[in-house]
Amino acid sequence: MDISNTDSIPGRRIVEFYGVVTGNTVRAKHIGRDIMAGLKNIVGGELVGYTELLQDSRTEATERMIQQAQSMGANAVVNVRFATSSIAQGAAELFAYGTAVKVE
């Protein structure tokens, strides 16, 4: 499965469109990580726990998007975008969306 955030797969020609595919995940913060992040807030700098959490969540959302594209018979997803929305206190939705296509 080829994915790209441009409107084509470089060097390949799109032969068929299958429409928009999405993948999402809703995550809550881990209390242990939150306490560590609270301490880290005093001295500043990177909050490693959160960086990893968001990275994992984004990977999962992408995986789900890819699964949906595969079930449609597509072999690539183009124009992929990410979005984050905070749906409740301490929980956030991450989602990825793109256009499922077939390339040569």
Partner: protein, 168 residues
């Protein structure tokens, strides 16, 4: 415990402790920032010459054999000292200088992580690079508590068809 000791303890808890925290935050925070900046500069030098571009179409002379999407992210927070300074600054308005280096180094770090992951996977260049900033919700409803800013950099990494494919 006599009256004087109690008074002193009270004074310490009310003024001494925040002041101590401020000083610790100031020294460690600025040390962390200096180190981070020197690490960023060093790694940026190592990656000089590796094409990372924000065009949404590839330059014509790039002949590509393979592509994938790469991303890099980081969540950062301000230290206590800088948050206090920023809070004071918001009374009178104007430029909040303490926030600027934080956002700058987070953005450069996210770009570097994206670049490094593409290099590790054997890709030769990245195009259509996009940057996104999002604020993480506070853990408490009152606006206090843990908060951070996430920087995300992502783009399409490509492998060149041959070693000399870029020469026009």
């Amino acid at each position: 415990m006599d009256g004087a000791t109690f008074e002193n303890l009270n004074l310490f808890l009310n003024f001494g402790l925040p002041l101590l925290l401020l000083m610790i935050a100031y020294f460690i925070g600025s040390m962390v920032e200096r180190r981070h900046f020197s690490s960023i500069r060093k790694r940026e030098n190592e990656n000089r010459g590796y094409p990372v571009v924000s065009f949404d179409t590839m330059p014509d002379d790039w002949k590509v054999s393979e592509s994938t999407m790469v991303a890099g992210n980081i969540v950062v927070s301000l230290d206590y000292f800088k948050r206090v300074i920023a809070g004071l600054r918001s009374l009178v308005g104007g430029r909040i200088k303490t926030y600027e280096p934080l956002l700058e180094r987070a953005r450069r770090e996210a770009l570097l992580r994206m670049t490094e992951s593409a290099r590790e996977q054997g890709y030769d260049a990245i195009f259509n690079v996009r940057l996104e900033t999002s604020r993480l919700a506070n853990s408490r409803g009152d606006g206090n508590g843990t908060a951070g800013v996430e920087m995300l950099a992502f783009g399409t990494a490509v492998k060149f068809a041959s070693r000399f494919a870029r020469t026009p």
